[in-house]
């Protein structure tokens, strides 16, 4: 009984950590984008204020059951991904930090990342807002785009290290060095893939505020929008931790974790801050172009080393 309590406590702590770090990253990103546009930019805690204000909204409106439980899908997905990714290697500062993770299988995580967006898409579909469904169709098509390089790099990593679970990967990395260097092509493919995954500028056609009135979440107000933003930030953090675990052998303590994740996060953010917006088919064509090319090299590399 006692360790279950400890486990749940740990899980709750990780969720809180994820939310806090995720939201601060959000704030930092807005500040960095502002700085690139030569403006001061909001304080780092701006995301917290936004989310708490949205939670404190008095009224909320929904168009039916599916939209009502849409955000629940999103939260489930992001928290489950978080749960199944080892946030800190054992023996870190906060021993009770490692969460419910067990072997943390990669293929399961790939599918889990899609679970959230599909669930949300169903909720958005129910709203009946044409802008929202256009956003969904673009978002899903884009998803097919970036999933391929994402999977290519993961498969090549799995083949190279002969294990399909993250903890297995981390053990492998402890022996023979970070995968970032051991499987360089896989890492390059991954970098190109996460450009698409985080929906920042070049690939933010799905949420384009100017064209389709902020796309999918256009009918989500008040608590639904808040729930979406919380799950968004947790999801961002979970993805980053996943990538750090796979390529940089995770982090033993919080500071290392934050540093690594921030560095990795800067790639899509900075690239996004300066680039215009792709149309959907251009995005798909791009994502199936160079990233897949590097991915194939990574695969060949992983087979024959």
């Amino acid at each position: 009984m006692e360790d279950i309590l400890k486990l749940l406590g740990g899980a709750a702590a990780t969720m809180l950590l994820a939310f806090v770090v995720g939201a601060t990253y959000g704030g930092l990103v807005r500040k960095i984008i502002a700085r690139t546009q030569n403006r001061v930019g909001p304080p780092w805690y701006q995301n917290f204020v936004d989310i708490s204000k949205l939670y404190m909204k008095d009224t909320a409106v929904h168009h039916g059951v599916m939209q009502h439980i849409g955000p629940a899908f999103a939260i489930t997905a992001s928290v489950t991904v978080l749960m199944f990714v080892p946030v800190l290697r054992e023996g870190g500062w906060f021993p009770w930090f490692e969460n419910l993770n067990f072997k943390g299988d990669i293929i399961f995580l790939i599918y889990m990342m899609v679970f959230g967006s599909l669930g949300m898409a169903l909720g958005i579909g129910q709203t009946g807002n044409p802008n929202a469904s256009i956003g969904v169709s673009r978002g899903l098509s884009m998803m097919v785009g970036y999933e391929i390089p994402f999977v290519l790099s993961l498969v090549s990593v799995m083949v190279q290290t002969h294990t399909t679970s993250i903890t297995g990967l981390m053990e492998w990395q402890t022996q023979n060095g970070w995968l970032m260097f051991e499987a360089p092509f896989a890492f390059i493919t991954m970098l190109l893939a996460i450009l698409g995954m985080f929906h920042y500028a070049p690939f933010d056609i799905a949420h384009a505020p100017s064209e389709i009135a902020s796309g999918p979440p256009s009918e989500f107000g008040g608590k639904y929008l808040a729930m979406m933003m919380t799950s968004g930030s947790i999801f961002a953090f979970a993805k980053l931790v996943f990538l750090v675990d796979v390529f940089m052998n995770g982090a033993s303590n919080l500071v290392m974790l934050v540093v690594k994740t921030l560095l990795l996060y800067m790639v899509p953010v900075l690239y996004g801050a300066v680039s215009p917006r792709y149309r959907t088919e251009q995005a798909i064509r791009y994502l199936w172009g160079w990233p897949v090319f590097f991915g194939i090299i990574a695969l060949i590399y992983s087979i024959y080393i």
Binding site: F108, V136, E147, I148, T164, S165, E281, W288
Partner: protein
């Protein structure tokens, strides 16, 4: 055993005039099947100089159970779906015949009875495909030609095997196969594979499938795509596991490579076609071809894990494809059309259908908590952990098709159930009870299989052991691959469901009082108030951007080549027909010439 045979014999005699009788017949057969215990005794029917043996072994038990269970449910659905349509007796006769023949195939121990029931299944399903009279695109003849090609290829193989080992028993072929010469092994193998891959709609031979699935009545398509195609898989599994594995290494490599890649290509191309379809039925037809592509790839890879995943996926596919087709049938019956671009917002009117369709869609897409993920996980693991490198590139192909599967799954649900509420569909009511019950039941089984896949692993494992694998390990609810990585489905299922419930509770409780439902007309249209008749659903050309992205791949369809081949043949036959000119003199002249030739060369022929 005798009971089961007796039951389906009973079916054969009573030409059902009403679907209720057919439902009773099938469900009685199902009950008999499940109650009967011993699975070893053999019934033989002797015909002239060879005997037709019928027996049930562990492997065929899996397929038999699947066929019986699903067809019993679907026949319940059939009562409601077909009520009010004409020529009911005719339809039900063939419906029951098809199911009976599937049971026959599964029971058959020897190739001849296998072939007999295979052909009965073909032509009875043909008579249903052409049932509702729409024959544009010559679907009836196209289906008949392809299944005839398949059937006759198999007949040729059977006949040749008999000439080699002059016995029809499947078991004899399996043990005698290694002794054949190289050429003979290849010929028999290829002929059998052609026969099975026609039914399993593998790429080059799949052209009949999309129209056949979408044109026949929905209650039959649930059986057609769910179970009939599995008979192809049933045969293919026998060939791959027990026969080819014993053949010389060189051969098996070629077979498994070619078929695996064929399966992969089928999966990708069929999914791309499914995404751009406008009609729900056609979309589902292409999607079932794609799923079959996965199963075929799983079989072809041939490792213990991949075959287990293929069989597991086969059963799961039968389940969720059954639900989806039944759901589309219910919508078609209630709303009158299945065009994705016109329908919308049926969720409030047909909640139960939507629920089961949602569960089926989640399973089809392979999303974690449900059974679909288990099958997909094993398939991927088997490919990643497999030794030969080409499987790795195949993983990418399969993964591309399963991600694109999310697209058409969403388009199906969105097209039918979500989107704007139009006055045009206000009259739609929930489907009648006999339609909804089977759907919901199947959905619950899917959820159950997500929680404890072991329930299905056990029979599959016994079946595989029967076929030729040794000590196939299985756990109740955890999957593992040869590298020792495990996924504990109970754990996954539990965490996902609890989190979901928590999230749902939280979002409902949070200022419950002031959350209000608002119709889909009250949306942000920059201040305008859309009247009732204004249709704002965005459903036409839903994935146009995606279509433009994959456009170069889609230019030529397989039909294009087949039509060319068909026209070529047509013109050749036209030329041949000219020989029969029709006037007497030429016939007489033929006779004379023939006589002369014979006299001249008579020496050599009749020495």
């Amino acid at each position: 055993m005798g009971g089961a045979i007796l039951a389906y014999l009973a079916k054969r005699i009573t030409p059902m005039l009403s679907s209720i009788v057919s439902f009773l017949a099938i469900s009685s057969a199902a009950v008999v099947f499940f109650t009967m215990t011993s699975s070893t005794d053999v019934v033989t029917v002797s015909v002239r100089n060879f005997t037709l043996q019928f027996g049930l072994n562990a492997y065929s038990w899996v397929f038999a159970a699947m066929v019986m269970g699903i067809s019993a449910l679907v026949s319940l659905y059939n009562i409601a779906y077909m009520s009010g349509k004409d020529r009911l007796g005719y339809f039900n006769l063939n419906f029951t015949l098809a199911i009976m023949s599937m049971m026959g195939i599964v029971f058959a121990n020897d190739w001849i009875s296998f072939f007999i029931f295979w052909e009965i299944m073909t032509w009875s399903s043909f008579l249903i495909v052409v049932y509702n009279g729409i024959d544009e695109g010559k679907i009836g003849t196209k289906y008949m030609i392809f299944s005839a090609v398949g059937g006759y290829a198999m007949l040729m193989a059977i006949v040749i095997t008999n000439s080699q080992i002059d016995s029809f028993l499947i078991a004899d072929l399996i043990n005698a196969y290694p002794t054949f010469g190289h050429g003979m092994q290849a010929m028999i193998g290829i002929l059998f594979l052609i026969g099975f891959s026609v039914k399993a709609a593998v790429m080059p031979l799949h052209v009949w499938a999309p129209r056949a699935y979408s044109d026949s009545p929905m209650s039959f398509t649930a059986i057609f795509s769910g179970l009939l195609s599995k008979m192809g898989i049933f045969g293919m599994a026998i060939m791959f596991i027990s026969v080819f594995s014993k053949a010389s290494i060189g051969d098996t490599f070629i077979y498994s490579q070619v078929i695996a890649w064929l399966g992969g290509v089928t999966a990708v191309m069929a999914t791309f076609y499914a995404v751009i379809q406008k009609d729900a039925k056609r979309l589902l037809a292409y999607s079932s071809i794609a799923q079959l592509g996965y199963i075929v790839t799983g079989l072809a890879i041939g490792t213990k894990l991949s075959v287990m995943s293929a069989l597991f996926l086969a059963v799961i596919h039968a389940l969720y494809k059954g639900i989806l087709f039944m759901a589309v049938g219910a919508v078609e019956r209630q709303a009158g059309s299945t065009n994705l671009e016109q329908l919308g917002a049926l969720i409030r009117k047909m909640p139960w259908t939507f629920f089961s369709a949602l569960i089926a869609a989640i399973a089809l897409a392979g999303i974690p908590p449900l059974g679909g993920f288990v099958g997909k996980w094993m398939l991927y693991e088997s490919m990643i952990t497999s030794t030969n490198p080409s499987h790795l590139f195949l993983v990418i192909l399969i993964f591309l098709s399963s991600t694109a599967a999310f697209l058409y799954v969403y388009r199906l649900l969105f097209g039918l159930f979500l989107g704007q509420e139009e006055p045009e569909w206000d009259h739609v009511k929930e489907a009648p009870a006999p339609m909804v019950i089977p759907m919901v039941l199947m959905a619950l089984t899917l959820i159950l299989l997500g929680y404890a896949p072991g329930l299905l692993f056990e029979p599959i494992a016994n079946g595989m052991e029967f076929l030729g694998f040794e000590n196939v390990g299985w756990q109740m609810s955890s999957l593992s691959n040869i590298w020792g990585d495990t996924v504990d489905m109970q754990y996954v299922w539990g965490s996902v469901v609890t989190l979901f419930v928590l999230g749902a509770i939280f979002i409902t409780i949070k200022n419950r009082k002031s959350t209000r439902y608002v119709t889909t007309k009250d949306i942000h249209t920059s201040g305008e108030i859309p009247e009732a008749h204004e249709n704002l659903t965005y459903a036409v050309d839903f994935y146009k951007p995606f279509e433009r992205a994959i456009e170069p791949v889609m230019r030529k369809t397989m039909d294009f080549y087949y039509n060319h081949f068909g026209n070529g043949l047509e013109s050749l036959f036209g030329f041949v027909r000219k020989i029969y000119t029709g006037n007497g003199q030429t016939y007489a002249m033929y006779v004379v010439i023939f006589l002369v030739i014979l006299l001249l060369i008579g020496e050599q022929i009749f020495k």
